[in-house]
């Protein structure tokens, strides 16, 4: 399993993840490219650089855990898990197929490396809190990470969970907000405005850092900083671009849940791999 904090190496790994994401969604003929592409750098920084994890560790062994609360970003998670060796990369071609262990949304019992089952938005952060509380009770020195969509924060349960994490001082909980400004029906600010989002999290008792969610040095530094905050949960507020890396997909709600056809895939992969 590749582990690195070298920025060029991380960028190369991110290109590989984008290639896998686009290819698997094309092969499936269905899936969510926009929100998978906006989360690539966050996932790469966690799985290739910062998280304490390994595919050979037994289920009961101590490790950092990740919860993809915006479960429709599953292709990004599956790509990173396959690249870390949790399962063979060929399996990515079976995304969303009948009887495949790569369900449309993450399902912990079937997929190696998936810790928590999601897909219904708004439910992941509560479960991340539960994992963090369990780790605390066990005296484990491990972190729990969680990735939320910006549209997802319209769910009331997210704010119940935000309160819980602060109330129980979950200092080893680090959440990321994938603030790509889009949801299905359009711009988040038009559908149901969530601003001022950073202030909301701060007022709920979280430590908040605002960064560019595609900039590796900023992501790595923010994770290090979040770890120094031990008495509150941390939110890393990431400004991102939905569909990042593929110009014709960027900032378009249309690409939330549409699979690229063969031509589009070809163009997309050429772009992703040219931008190296």
């Amino acid at each position: 399993m590749k582990r690195t904090e070298d920025i060029d190496e991380l960028k190369a790994l991110a290109r590989g993840l984008r290639t896998d994401i686009l290819t698997m969604i094309h092969t499936a003929g269905t899936g969510h490219p926009g929100g998978s592409l906006s989360a690539v750098e966050i996932l790469a920084a966690l799985y290739f650089a910062k998280m304490d994890h390994s595919p050979t560790r037994k289920p009961e062994e101590v490790r950092d855990k990740f919860v993809l609360s915006k479960g429709h970003g599953a292709p990004a998670l599956y790509a990173v898990l396959a690249n870390c060796g949790y399962f063979p990369k060929e399996e990515l071609a079976r995304l969303r197929k009948f009887d495949s262990f790569l369900s449309g949304h993450p399902y912990a019992p079937s997929t190696p490396g998936v810790e928590i089952t999601t897909g219904s938005l708004g439910q992941g952060l509560s479960q991340a809190n539960g994992l963090a509380l369990a780790a605390q009770l066990n005296g484990h020195d491990s972190y729990v990470y969680c990735l939320l969509g910006d549209g997802e924060t319209q769910e009331g349960q997210v704010w119940e969970a935000a309160m819980t994490a602060a109330h129980y001082r979950l200092g080893k909980l680090i959440a990321f907000l994938d603030n790509n400004e889009l949801q299905i029906d359009g711009w988040v600010k038009d559908v149901m405005n969530i601003e001022p989002i950073g202030k909301k999290w701060e007022s709920f008792g979280w430590h908040v850092q605002e960064i560019d969610g595609h900039d590796f040095p900023q992501i790595l530094a923010a994770i290090d900083k979040a770890k120094t905050v031990t008495d509150k949960p941390s939110l890393i507020w990431c400004h991102t671009v939905k569909g990042k890396g593929v110009s014709f997909m960027e900032r378009l709600a249309k690409w939330h849940g549409t699979a690229p056809n063969a031509d589009e895939l070809k163009k997309a992969l050429a772009e992703v791999n040219a931008n190296g």
Binding site: I116, Q127, G130
Partner: protein, 320 residues
Amino acid sequence: MVEMLAPRDFYGKTLVELGKTNKDIVVLDCDLSGSTRTSLFAKAYPDRFFNMGVAEQDMIGTAAGLAAGGKIPFASTFAMFASGRAWEQIRQSVAYPRANVKVVASHGGITVGPDGPSHQAGEDIAIMRAIPDMTVIVPADAYETAAAVRAVVEYRGPVYLRLPRDKFPVVYKEGKTFEIGKATLLRKGNEVTFITCGLMTETALRAAAELETEGVSAGVVDMPTIKPLDVSAVILAAQESGAIVTAEEHTVIGGLGSAIAETIGESRPVPVVRVGIPDTYFSSGSPEELLEACGLTTVGLKEAALRAVTLKKHPVRVRE
């Protein structure tokens, strides 16, 4: 004089006993710990108790996360809010990944009384039973509750355990054992059999005793596990008595009565008369008044039994 005991008291006490040796047990509640009796656990083991505030959806999600972290979480609140407000969290975060979460819902059924229909959970068994991989348990009394709590700790997987608020007459003795998915034949009868859960089991025993003095032989089967149902006990009752009456403190739609009717319809069709909460909302009132309004009384059950016996002899025909 029959002993009157509150199942929720035994829930709280049993949790404290089990928590002493089993350090994996953790308990969550939504600002109702005094009512659900999880306050006993909170007092004994404060570091393993989490008050989640009035936030049922977050409680279920947090419990799912604790289970994923290796704990055995018990999540308690009133049945209305546990099953209703958090239904989708139970479906998605608990049952679908088979998380080892025990949802223990107190104040189930119509006997919460004075609080009114907003608090009278009459649909919980139906909506919990519809979820794949869910186990649904409604104990007959306080002793069966204690035994059921012990059994669900040993069982690995999601459970919905429903308790009432009030003290009710007991059916069993201290030390009763419990096996998930197993019914108990309490009384044999060859003309009609009551299949019951919750406090209706004791009512059915009284109805059956009265029927005997009136020359009708009625059996009673306590069916505390509504899912997975003890199918062979149901078929045996149908075979031996040829008529069934179900009684439960739950709507007649989708609960124990429906589960029995489904099973009998697909195996050994005999008349099934369901007694439960009719398809309506009532009002505030005392538990006795509300049970009476539903026919969930000795008199109501006897009438239902006679109707079932009549149906067996003279099936209803549709007029042309």
